[in-house]
């Protein structure tokens, strides 16, 4: 946490109150994420990368689908928090069992094999992360994914579209 005791005193009473309250709200260990731990975030990122891989166009990793999922887990997806905690653990357990390493440590081919197993063994979690990855890749960037509108660029969908309206009464050239 950035605010040490010394900085506290330097900033005075009111700042101390506000400062501590504000930084507490953001605390999530050393994780850059809102809900995921740093480890979980890496695993989800890797899963997203397998679901929509990068090729000549960016994939779900570059689109930051993991950021979309993490953000939504503080909002309407709150109800899926448990499913994610357990599902991510299940993915790592399956990787260890099959290839003797954590999911993020495996080469892409083995990751795909693990996910294909998860699709059957933890179907509910797989359906969840599949849907959410697709949303984080193809959905609107305002929700934290589809960074720089990469999927829309891939599909050739101009944004924002140029679209006016015959709004004025003045005649135009023929």
């Amino acid at each position: 946490m950035p605010n040490s005791r010394r900085q506290f005193l330097g900033a005075g009473l009111s700042a101390a109150v506000a400062g501590s309250a504000i930084s507490c709200g953001a605390s999530n260990g050393a994780s850059p994420w809102r809900f995921f731990t740093a480890e979980e975030g890496r695993t989800v990122d890797a899963i997203c990368d397998r679901i929509i891989p990068a090729d000549r166009d960016p994939g779900a990793k570059e689109a930051r689908a993991v950021n979309y999922i993490d953000l939504q887990l503080t909002r309407p997806f709150k109800r899926y928090r448990k499913a994610y905690r357990e599902g991510i653990a299940a993915v790592d357990a399956a990787s260890r069992k099959k290839f003797g390493g954590r999911f993020v440590e495996l080469p892409a081919g083995q990751q795909t094999e693990v996910l294909a197993d998860i699709e059957k063994s933890s179907a509910a979690f797989f359906e969840l992360i599949l849907a959410h990855t697709r949303q984080g890749f193809y959905g609107d960037p305002r929700h934290g994914g589809n960074r720089n509108r990469v999927s829309w660029k891939m599909l050739g969908v101009p944004f924002p579209p140029i679209r006016g309206l015959e709004r004025y009464d003045q005649p135009k050239v023929g």
């Binding site: 109150v17 960037p141 509108r149 924002p160 004025y168």
Partner: protein, 352 residues
């Protein structure tokens, strides 16, 4: 009793000073400390690599002792949403703050600001939304806000009342009356990645008016997604005259113009609000004639004609109904045949 009063007074003072105090604390870190809130990281990073990287946060956003209330209210509101656990993808400006930030823009960019203020793009909410002639013919609608009032948080019904063609109309938030409906931030993203602006081109020369620099901040604030779309991602249309694709200037800055001065779906030149050059002015960038900020057309005819005139005629003595969209001589679409009704004469050798 005195004690209670004193304590209450102290408490109230502490509360009043809470927001500025916190601001002061965070500012002393040179911006770095701001990023202890997750949602600040991105804007901080963007600022850090933006042309304004040399301009400290407090220069634009005010500092602890500023009397600009919207600044403190904004901070308090942001702290509150943060404490509620609502961690947005990135922080956004409330509308009142977008208006307040005009002033710091002006303090450095005086010339640009002055010319914007003198031009049509500084039109106030009153000018745009209470225009009797316009409203009688066209009912106010949400789509107006896409360009005029892009930062206004709510729908048209919360801006203009009544939403009808009969009026009489008034602005629901009366304080907007003299505020610009297209503030600087409509076309400029402050935290845009790019080098600090130096008014020289790559060769180190100071460019002339026709070689203006594409500012890295150029971006369109898309009201729908409430995000900036940087210039290089904005579409430049393929405009049509009938089925013919019109020759377009490669000047990307026009992409910004087309977002609002847009043709209808069939992409025909002159449809909707489009003013793409056709005829003798085909292929010329909007900005070749219209100065950015002021939109005044420089001394546009004189800057090219008669030196570059194709027929050697004194263009300033021609039909000057070029401002009317009804006119055959409308400056955007005028063709040789518009004046030479009996046939276009052959090109003369120019004597100069």
């Amino acid at each position: 009793m005195k004690k209670i009063l004193l304590i209450s007074a102290l408490l109230i003072a502490a509360l009043v000073l809470l927001a500025p105090g916190a601001t002061f604390y965070y500012e002393t870190g040179g911006g770095r400390r701001c990023t202890s809130c997750h949602e600040m990281q991105e804007v901080y990073d963007q600022w850090h690599s933006s042309p304004h990287r040399g301009v400290g946060c407090e220069k634009c956003h005010g500092w602890a002792l500023t009397l600009e209330m919207s600044f403190h209210l904004n901070n308090a509101e942001r702290a509150w949403t943060h404490l509620r656990g609502d961690l947005p993808e990135r922080v956004r400006f409330p509308h009142r703050y977008v208006q307040a930030i005009q002033e710091p823009c002006q303090s450095c960019h005086r010339q640009e600001f002055a010319s914007w203020q003198a031009g049509p793009h500084s039109a106030t909410y009153t000018r745009i939304f209470l225009d009797k002639k316009h409203n009688t013919g066209n009912m106010p609608m949400d789509d107006c806000l896409r360009c005029h009032g892009a930062f206004f948080e709510s729908g048209i019904g919360d801006l203009v009342s009544p939403v009808s063609r009969t009026g009489p109309w008034r602005l629901v938030p009366a304080e907007l009356a003299n505020m610009p409906s297209m503030p600087c931030l409509t076309c400029h993203q402050m935290h845009r990645q790019g080098p600090p602006l130096r008014k020289t081109d790559v060769a180190g020369r100071v460019p002339g008016p026709s070689q203006e620099i594409t500012r890295p901040s150029l971006a369109f604030f898309d009201r729908r997604t409430q995000q900036y779309i940087p210039l290089q991602d904005l579409p430049l249309p393929v405009m049509l005259e009938g089925t013919r694709a019109v020759k377009m200037s490669p000047d990307r800055r026009q992409a910004l113009c087309y977002q609002c001065h847009a043709p209808v779906a069939n992409m025909q030149v002159a449809s909707g609000d489009d003013r793409t050059g056709l005829g003798v002015h085909e292929g010329i960038s909007c900005l070749a004639c219209h100065a950015q900020h002021g939109e005044q057309t420089r001394a546009s005819c004189a800057s090219c004609h008669p030196k570059m005139s194709n027929c050697g005629l004194d263009v300033e003595k021609m039909d000057t109904t070029f401002k009317s969209t009804d006119s055959q001589h409308n400056i955007h679409w005028v063709k040789c045949a518009g004046c030479h009704t009996k046939g276009v004469p052959k090109k003369k050798e120019r004597i100069s």
